[in-house]
Assembly symmetry: none
Homo-oligomer: 207 residues x 4
DNA sequence: CATGAATGAGAATTCATTCAT
DNA sequence: CATGAATGAATTCTCATTCAT
């Protein structure tokens, strides 16, 4: 019973943290971190301003906490649950997964991405907690393929960052709607073309 | 004489604008747009706070004006002055050029990039003034190569954004120093590997 | 039995009040009344914040309650238990007693003293409850000595306040350590010199 | 002309500082340092809140600045302008001078005195800047009289602090009105009796 | 009665912007 | 045009107090 009540309290506290974080993510994504006020966050989260500070010691702490939330989305599932043998299928599965993630967590990530240009500590945190874990499996896979002679000798780190950049720019531009031309490109088609680009390259075999 | 004095005045005004913009760029890159104060900008530019407002109506206007400054760096030179015929050489030349640009203008661009996540208007402005012009030539080139059957049918828009993302991520990570592994990769080697990735793809020809 | 249980309850309540008051005294003396938080008081007292408000209706009430606690330290003992006949011995006994009190209760009094400069009500309370009772016996004694021709005609009120001020300043300065020169003056020597000053004055008899 | 304009600016700034300090002194003395808000200080000083921070970096800084203002009131004048030879006259002159000071600067000192119980740094500052300078001349005088055999051997430091305490308590109590009995004692009579107490002591010569 | 999470009214401080000189 | 003192709205964070459990 003591244990239960302890658990209960902890669960309540954890729920509150999440509740506040959701409100913060919403407001931050609408107005940006700096223009969002703690009052707005409180309102969006359905709590009072003071309550925010019972769970986070600083407005910036909300950003840091978001990093942790994002860190959980590695690609473990894809690689553990019988990954496709065909590189083409595997790469497409990864890209589709990242696209879904972008659509879901995009609003949460945008204000975070903005701050990493200014906040060194946050940048390192995001890199260590999110980028590294998310790219680990892909890196390993690329390295294996290189070692077995199926992939060219291109540094797996460069490859994974290239893939990330490619997706962030293309998916981000499509989602943000700044370039009309993306309206004619479906997510699936985009994924297909990125797969081709990365596996086959631009050059047509002249053999 | 009237014309002359007008010209003179205009030149002075233009010089002042640039002077202020340089100060702003410096301070913004050091502290980020929001944490930089107009007082600091004034000091860095060597003018008084009031003077800033004689040339820009708003702190945010400084950001907008920076976009124009950046818009001038298209790749026109490379494509106009006898571009290399070999795609490999051409792509590498482009990448090296962009790397130099990143090293030079990176600090000026960082705070700008940060804001496009929050500021819709700025995002569109930057896209129209900088991204579109900078990618126009590459897009055209890719399209030509596709039409002539030398490049695979991958949407030139996707390709150019992929290249941008690839460069921003890889060069940005190398410059910011968050990942030690980039210390062992020279800019030239990075460029070479990106060329290979984009032209040949990862897959080794099994023919 | 009803009486007993009531007594028991009352004793418990009284104990709690004291417990809280001790915690408050400790925290107030460390950080001052205004900078001390009720949370800190609660922690120091070993109770929850809410419990404080079951016994005191206001943070300020804690200060008021402290005044009562201090009011008990009149000089009754010295004057009731066969007071020394020699004024010199009596005065020294009083001074030594007050010095001990200062060393013990000083930390508790400091935040209280600070507030009397701002809080009129508290000032009057402290004066009525502590200063008046503590000086009553001395005042009476001085008046008797004047009436009997042994002391000069100096208003006993002035004399007692002079003695208080003299002790507060000298002992306070010695205890707080702001003036190194007090390190070379023992409490006993300080008491002796104050006795001489008050009984004989500065002037050497020129007779 | 350049010099003049510089002087002018400096004078303006100094005037503003004083203006703000006067407002602060007024509000602090009415409500106490902690309960006084910067908004109230601004209003009392006739400036905006922001202006306060153009001249003082912190609310507490206002207190520190007050210490400096008070430091100027040493007793130099009395000791330099043909001091009375008779100790009785000299001591009375000093006491009357301090009484005037208390009446004038009392409101400014009260909130300061309150804070020295909590704020170590302020305590030391006030002691070094105000107490030490104000008591220097008296200390020297007492020491001389002791050396020449006219005063008893009582540590001059103890004597001056005793005098201070005596005056602060008696004058403070008279000014604050907490004890009705001070209504029947004029400032002059109070001064006379303190002189007698300090020079002749309480004991009537039994010779 | 005990608890401590929730509250929200402030409070100190900052800073973009204005404007008199 | 240049200046920089003045402004005051806005913001983050604190903390005494309440109240449901």
């Amino acid at each position: 019973m003591l244990d239960n009540s302890l658990d209960f309290k902890e669960q309540m506290a954890e729920a509150r943290r999440t509740q506040i974080l959701m409100g913060a993510a919403q407001v931050f994504s609408e107005k940006g971190f700096h223009k969002a006020t703690t009052k707005e966050v409180a309102k969006a989260a359905g709590v009072s301003e003071g309550t925010i500070y019972n769970y986070f010691s600083t407005k910036r702490d909300l950003l840091v906490a978001m990093v942790d939330q994002l860190g959980m989305n590695s690609l473990k599932n894809i690689f553990e649950d019988s990954p496709p043998q065909d590189p083409r299928q595997l790469l497409k599965a990864i890209i589709i997964d990242r696209m879904h993630l972008a659509a879901e967590r995009g609003p949460m990530m945008a204000p975070l991405l903005a701050e990493i240009f200014n906040d060194v500590e946050l940048r390192e945190l995001l890199y260590d907690q999110v980028v590294i874990p998310a790219s680990r499996h892909v890196e390993q896979y690329v390295r294996q393929q290189i070692d077995s002679g199926r992939f060219r000798q291109i540094d797996p780190v460069i490859v994974t960052r290239a893939l990330m950049g490619t997706l962030v720019f293309n998916v981000g531009l499509k989602l943000s709607g700044v370039d009309d031309r993306y309206n004619d490109i479906s997510f699936d088609s985009l994924a297909e073309q990125v797969v081709t680009l990365f596996l086959d390259g631009l050059l047509v075999d002249q053999s």
